[in-house]
Amino acid sequence: MKEETVPQLSKKLCNILLTDLENARRPVLEAIKCSLDNAKYSPSVGYLTPGSKRVRTELNVSSVQKMSRAIFLLEIFLRNLETGAVNTKREIYYISKGETKHNPSLKPLDFADQDESDSVIDFICEMLECYREELNCFANDRGGQTYSNQLEVTETMPDGEKAVVDLGSLGTSPFQPKNRPQSLQLRAKKKIDFCLVVESEGTANTFVANGFCKRNNCILMGAQGVPSNAVRGWCKLIQDQLKIPIYFFGDLDAYTMQNIYRTLKAGSAASLIRNSDFSAPDVKFLGVLPSDIKKYDLNDYPVKENDLQEARALKKASDALKNDPFFKDKKNKGVTKILHWLLENKRRCEQQALFTVDPRDPTMPEKIILEKIKAGDYV
């Protein structure tokens, strides 16, 4: 969907609602069901797509509050789109509070906390089948700090002006991709061999400081945990525009496999409607692989099953093997195998364990990574 169609679509939807009300007909809003039970995966597409299930919201005395709130926030978004103003979800929450404060007749709409306004924003996006960025509602640009001596990025500004950023000229400063990476155009000044996405931001910084980007024609990126929209869209852009291999390097544990790598590669169930722009299906899992533990004698340790967070990750991973179409697909059997291994062995190994191989050689992790890439030792 193109950005400019959102206001038109919104007005059309409101008009339908109004006509239904004029005729005392019960308006029904339909939205795609964004949940795992409505997620489909096809290896040829490469990311999770929505199934046929839809959520119907019919206007009745119970839903009138939700619908009123949705139309109220939609009016704020349309105003923002008209003026070009942007906001975060938190700011929208306070803007709505301001509106209800200054207009007592709107008091019943008041949100008790941000969770309430957030869920209405998500409802609007599902209803209009758009990203919240298309409503000028942006998240904080988290993660994705990128280093490269060969990459040049051209950003088209909202006013149409273009800004060119040569990543090689930034020194040790990284390039921070935006939450709407669609406005960026990439160009390789020299041939780029690969892109490495490192789960830990700190480890990515260490690699750069140790000269990784000087010695390799590459793009190095820190994911900073679960990839944000910015990181996901940025990887997709690198994949589509530069057509270079992308490798993900992170911890060997259920959380990383399921929440971080799966989201980067195939998107998430919560964002079914936008996975096409926010996933990079060509990303490979470089490690840490279970075989690396033996091969490089890496320090691994047992998962603490009494740790609530770890137990939850294992339970989630076990559920994923049964229900997640990504893990159920034969094409991803390598990743599925790792998940099985993790559930069976209940052990984990962190990405920083590569530093144990030769504690006196700071470039040893780089050497192992390059060796693995060269040997095709990834899934």
């Binding site: 409101c14 009300l21 005392a24 007909r25 019960r26 009138v64 009123s68 009016e75 019943p108 709409l109």
Partner: protein, 609 residues
Amino acid sequence: MAKQKITSSSTAEYFSKNLQQVGFSSPTKAVLTTLKEAIDNSLDACEEAGILPELVVEIEKAGAGTLKNTDLVRIYVEDNGPGLEVEEVSAVFGEYLASSKFGRGRCSRGQQGIGISAATTWAQLTSAKGVRVVTKTAKMRQAVTGVVEVDIKHNKGVIKDKKTIQWTKPHGVSVEFYIDGRIQLNGEGGLMTYLLGTTLVNPHLTLKYTVPEQKAQKVERVSDICPSIPDATTPHPHTMKLGEFIAHSHLFGRIAVSAWLKKGFSRITDHVIGEIIKNGVSKKVLEQSVDKTADADFKALFSAIHKTELMAPSTRSVMTIGEAAFSKSVRRLGEVDFFSVLTRKPTICDYKPVAVEVAIARLKSGTAKIAGETDDSPATILRFANRVPLQFDKAACAMVRAIETVNWRTYGLAQPKDSLPQGPYVIAVSLVSPFIKFKNASKETVDASDELVEEMRRTLIQAGQRLSRHIRKESKEADLEEKLRHIEQFCPILVDCLCRITKAPDSRKKKATEGIIKLLGRDVNAAKRDLKEANTAVKDAVSKGKVHVVNTDDVLKETEEEIESGSDDVEGDDAKVKASGKGKKAAAKPAKKKAEKKQATTKEKRVTA
């Protein structure tokens, strides 16, 4: 090893050293236990004599106690019972295990004759002074008073300072203890909780009481029927052990074994005797005299009886408070919104006859006389065994176990998993049985056998079902209220927003407003129908006496009137709102609020079966 001399001690010596076993484990418990024992004795005496009890209770601080962190507490209990003969006084108050009720198999409060003697001992140990007793029977012209103390060495009561005095009462007994203790008024182990519980399960009791920091109170009786405690039935052979069985035979002298079995036990008939013979007992044994029967024959007979199927023991010895009297009594808990009471038919649990009664009441917030009734605090549990409040160690008690196993959420009460339900509710469980299995001598906890817990659970479920009809009605009222509020609040906003976005003219706005009111009015009408059904269910339950609602008539009449007036279409309501311009409140005012207002202004009136 040096040979040590074996000595024997009196019962009084044992208890004087182990008073914690009979309820004197802390200064707070000492005050409560003393009061409890005195009241139990008075109530039992009144009921035995068929007198409606009228008790006077005074508790006050009389100085500093001799023990650390205690006060000298005066506990005074006066009754209008038949009075004690002078020669009985020393045994009743000063001798352990001297009781008119021991082992009689009746549902009296006191059983063994330990409690009041233990209270005398505590007074003696802490204030060096026994209990002052005043007694007067109907035959006595003057009352006799004296101080009773326990001769601990010999387990005997001793009266000191005995004299006659003038007493205006025609008959009765008063006791006055000075003990070291601490007065706790509120909370689970509080005196107020005890007094309130006592009045709840004794509807025939008039109680005047004075406690520190409060004005003197008088709680009038709500029932003029003095309960008569049913006589004990003969023992059931399956409830006995071999030794008891043989000892029981000694009470009958020279009598044939078969005659002894039929006379001395319940549920033994000629047919049962035939069955016993089939189970291997020879006719000769059954025909011989019990005093000539060898122990081996008794053993064989005992085994054969246990193999024989017998009818369950009789439940005639069990008494109940009764739903009618219990219902009246519940009103004394505080400002009760509504309540249900249930008396189950007496039944047999663990070979013992038992009767369980339950009262569940919802109190108006903040009006309860007992502490801890907010929306998210656990419901107040009142436990009673043979009409005596149990106030300590509730966690292990069969009654609490039973309450926790019921799924109260089904009946509309909030309840965390496997816990007590929450909210301003009082759940009173009363267990009556001639043989209650307590976990300790101080009778604070009833042993949680599976059969007993299940019987209590069933009673609670039935009472919960009755109550739920009213709770459901309330939820329907709240539902209707919310729906009306939603229409009033959100419809104009939704239409306004849609019109602004689409830049629609006023004509469309007017039409859409009418449309949405009509549309959502259908939902409200459905809610009104639901409420009407719920109201009918409550009315039905009230008329059958299954649930009791304060001001039921007024509430139901009014809510029905409202439903009738607006049942066809909500358009009418809203038209009124629009026309008056200020009538929003009137349109949306829920039936419940009106009912509450009415409740507050009208004198309480209860509708019962």
